[in-house]
Symmetry: C2
Subunit: 192 residues, 2 copies
């Protein structure tokens, strides 16, 4: 499964063979069964996680016990809790697998080492950060501006395929509406 990661990396940057060997040497592959936790609320997060297979979600649970999903991560994307990682604080989030998944973990110290030793890797990481931030801004815009229907259609357009892959109640949670509302929205959309 590390081949997926290698493909991802080498498509984005050109590395020497030694550099890739160095990266590979700090990669930890971990399988996750559906429903299994990668991170539980309250624990401190020490890794960067790259998904080579499957789908994960990061979410929080409010006072009333309702889940709110901040992120879905599928193959070729990253997961984790930056806040906990950087500040060393207990995580407010939980991360678990929506499908049987495989992730590659790189410990924070190792990741920092890679960033310092491989300039191309640093660039890549920076670009990912920038893209994440731009995407977050877009999501904030949608959250404060759009109706439930617009949010749903926007999601389907932005992440084609994913809307059929995640359970509806989770999609509803991600969009910030109830499952019932999403169900009705979909019904209306179908008729058009």
């Amino acid at each position: 499964m590390i081949a997926v990661f290698k493909k991802y990396i080498t498509e984005k940057v050109t590395l020497t063979e030694q550099e890739w060997t160095l990266i590979q040497s700090v990669c930890i592959e971990r399988k996750l069964r559906k429903q299994q936790y990668l991170l539980q609320e309250g624990d401190v997060w020490h890794y960067n996680a790259f998904i080579t297979k499957g789908c994960l979600r990061r979410y929080r649970i409010d006072d009333k016990g309702v889940e709110h999903i901040l992120q879905f991560s599928v193959e070729n994307w990253w997961a984790g809790d930056r806040d906990s990682l950087i500040n060393g604080t207990p995580s407010k989030y939980s991360i678990d697998a929506i499908e049987d998944s495989v992730v590659i973990l790189i410990r924070k110290e190792d990741f920092d080492m890679l960033v310092n030793r491989i300039p191309e890797f640093r660039n890549l990481v920076n670009i990912i950060l920038e893209k994440s931030l731009i995407a977050s801004q877009e999501r904030i815009h949608d959250a404060i501006s759009l109706t439930a229907e617009e949010k749903y259609l926007g999601f389907v357009e932005r992440y084609p395929g994913l809307s059929n892959r995640v359970p509806r109640r989770m999609l509803a949670s991600y969009l910030g509406v109830t499952p019932e509302t999403l169900s009705r929205v979909r019904q209306v959309v179908m008729k058009k």
Copy 2:
């Protein structure tokens, strides 16, 4: 006003005198009258902007002509449109001054040069990026999870002072509610 920027920088990282001189040499100071644009929708953004005085807002206007504010930036914070800056695409946002303001502009090429020549500066920029991303995640959570009242109280708590500094209709726009709703929410909160 550049003294404000120097103070900001030197409080965060230690620089040699030459390094600061280099930074200063690419700083462009610009005054903005209240209401004046720093960036207009459709234009390409080429800078990083640091606010030394005043308050700016970044916003979008939807099909119905309604403004949606993505960000307020006050003294000692940054403004700009990363998306346009990085991708060279026309901006979806406008940025203008809520108060008479002073900003320091650094052209993209110059900024990249600083990042490459001054390792400490690169670190600083990275930390800012990380913090911005963490804050964005927090805002997404609030947007999809909280009621209007909770959003308002959260804002007041997170940005004390700012809620009295920006016009209420703009605060409402930032929170994703109408001015009328914010007005009513505040009325309820006052009584408690």
